[in-house]
């Protein structure tokens, strides 16, 4: 569900966040209009709004873990975790995490990739929010949900800054609620 439909209709912060996201056409390949959140990180106010909205939502939901998907989930997750008193758990590409890990494969357009998490990072029953910058097909987030559920964690919601067309109208992913701040920008060029 989009934030604007869920209590934040008309909130000027959402417009500021949307305006701060840059569209880069034809990256990483022809036809893809890439939603670049790095410009959001350059806009201190808009970046703060982004974190504030997630913190306001999750502060009283008894969340003990924020799981962030490498690498752009790392840019948002820790600030939220710190503000709500939760742990931050990175979900990483293969072979980055030391020690014992569990892995979950997922489909790409061509081939597969894998997400890994530290074994023992999350005791069973803990309430988790998964965060990434953007959701497109939901493949990566679905793998994250499966990974967390395999260790007995309770995935309360998936949170993203941007949600693409494919998820519009979808309130759930793998049965889990999806919370998205903004839709993709249509126009080319920098904000």
């Amino acid at each position: 569900m989009f934030a604007a439909e869920n209590g934040l209709k008309g909130d000027p912060r959402l417009q500021a966040i949307s305006d701060a996201i840059r569209v880069v056409p034809h990256f990483p390949k022809q036809g893809i209009m890439f939603q670049d959140i790095t410009t959001l990180l350059l806009d201190h106010k808009a970046f703060q709004h982004t974190i504030d909205i997630f913190v306001d939502r999750y502060r009283d939901m008894d969340i003990s873990v924020i799981a962030g998907v490498e690498a752009r989930g790392f840019m948002f997750g820790p600030s939220i975790a710190l503000a709500i008193g939760a742990k931050f758990v990175p979900l990483r590409k293969p072979k980055k995490l030391p020690g014992e890990v569990i892995a979950e494969a997922y489909e790409l357009e061509y081939g597969t990739d894998c997400l890994e998490m530290l074994v023992g990072a999350i005791p069973p029953g803990e309430r988790v929010i998964v965060i990434d910058d953007l959701v497109a097909t939901g493949g990566t987030l679905s793998a994250a949900i499966r990974l967390l559920e395999r260790v007995g964690a309770e995935v309360v919601e998936c949170a993203c800054v941007v949600g693409l067309r494919e998820v519009k109208g979808q309130r759930r992913l793998n049965g889990k609620p999806l919370y998205i701040l903004v839709e993709p920008r249509e126009i080319d060029g920098c904000c």
């Binding site: 840059r22 880069v24 990256f27 990483p28 890439f34 670049d36 790095t38 990180l41 350059l42 806009d43 201190h44 970046f47 703060q48 974190i51 502060r59 490498e70 690498a71 752009r72 790392f74 840019m75 948002f76 820790p78 600030s79 975790a81 710190l82 503000a83 709500i84 008193g85 939760a86 742990k87 931050f88 758990v89 990175p90 990483r92 072979k95 980055k96 995490l97 030391p98 020690g99 014992e100 530290l118 074994v119 023992g120 990072a121 005791p123 920098c190």
Partner: protein, 256 residues
């Protein structure tokens, strides 16, 4: 006295030496003080760290402060070690033989699971850099992305990710740097920073300093003044500090 942990860079195959005569404290994987050293080339086996035991080797998680403003700690003393440092140090886990035999890997992911220690880590950097007219926090992929943004937000600065090749969309500038074998490249967005801005570079750890030097060069090429490099952990034997030359380095935990 600073807490010391027996850790070496994952990018340099320096063999560890550790004491087998002292029982490890229950919050650490390996003994924290200099003791009798034996070389791993002897017949003695390196203890294998079992991840499933990690929760027993660390103190229970504390309920952490939620409102960072209300719970802002006072400025730490310059002369003696801040009491928060020892908790931060003991929250960092050492993994032997990762990514390859002989390397004692410094793992900050356990620090991120200790809400109070993670909060303290960020606070220590924020206390140092707030009010110093720093407008840019540059974080090195990927663990610099974990520490950089909370610091940037707290001090009112931009966060600029310094990334591996081909990750950043749009126009980038890149800087090549040496690895132990071969080279790698670091990229930054064109236009992310302006000439004359004052910047901080953050990463979880400094080993040889190669990555940090590449980041310094990237920022200086576009006229940014790099005020300081900041890391959670330093491995002083790898002389990264010297490699940074006249650039100051601030670290929380220094490990030998």
């Amino acid at each position: 006295m600073m807490q010391r942990a027996l850790i070496f860079s994952c990018s340099n195959p320096i063999y560890s030496q550790f004491s087998t005569t002292t029982a490890p404290p229950d919050y650490a994987v390996f003994p924290k003080r200099d003791g009798g050293w034996i070389s791993p080339s002897s017949s003695h086996q390196l203890p294998v760290y079992r991840l499933r035991d990690y929760r027993r080797t660390f103190p229970p998680l504390l309920n952490s402060a939620i409102d960072s403003v209300a719970n802002q700690p006072k400025m730490a003393s310059q002369d003696e070690q801040d009491p928060r440092i020892s908790k931060i140090s003991s929250a960092i886990r050492v993994i032997p033989n990762f990514p390859k035999p002989g390397i004692m890997f410094q793992d900050i992911t356990t620090l991120l699971l200790d809400t109070k220690a993670f909060r303290d880590t960020i606070d220590l950097f924020v206390e140092r850099y707030r009010g110093k007219d720093i407008s840019v926090v540059a974080g090195i992929e990927a663990r610099g992305f974990i520490f950089g943004p909370p610091i940037a937000l707290a001090i009112g600065a931009k966060f600029v990710p310094m990334r591996k090749p081909n990750k950043l969309p749009g126009e980038v500038i890149s800087e090549e740097y040496s690895l132990e074998y071969g080279t790698d490249k670091m990229e930054m967005h064109v236009g992310a920073v302006q000439a004359g801005e004052r910047a901080l570079i953050i990463d979880d750890l400094i080993a040889t300093g190669g990555t940090l030097c590449a980041a310094i060069r990237l920022l200086e090429r576009v006229g940014v003044h790099v005020v300081e490099c900041a890391c959670v952990i330093e491995l002083p034997e790898l002389k990264g500090r010297e490699r940074l030359g006249d650039k100051p380095l601030f670290v929380l935990v220094s490990s030998t």
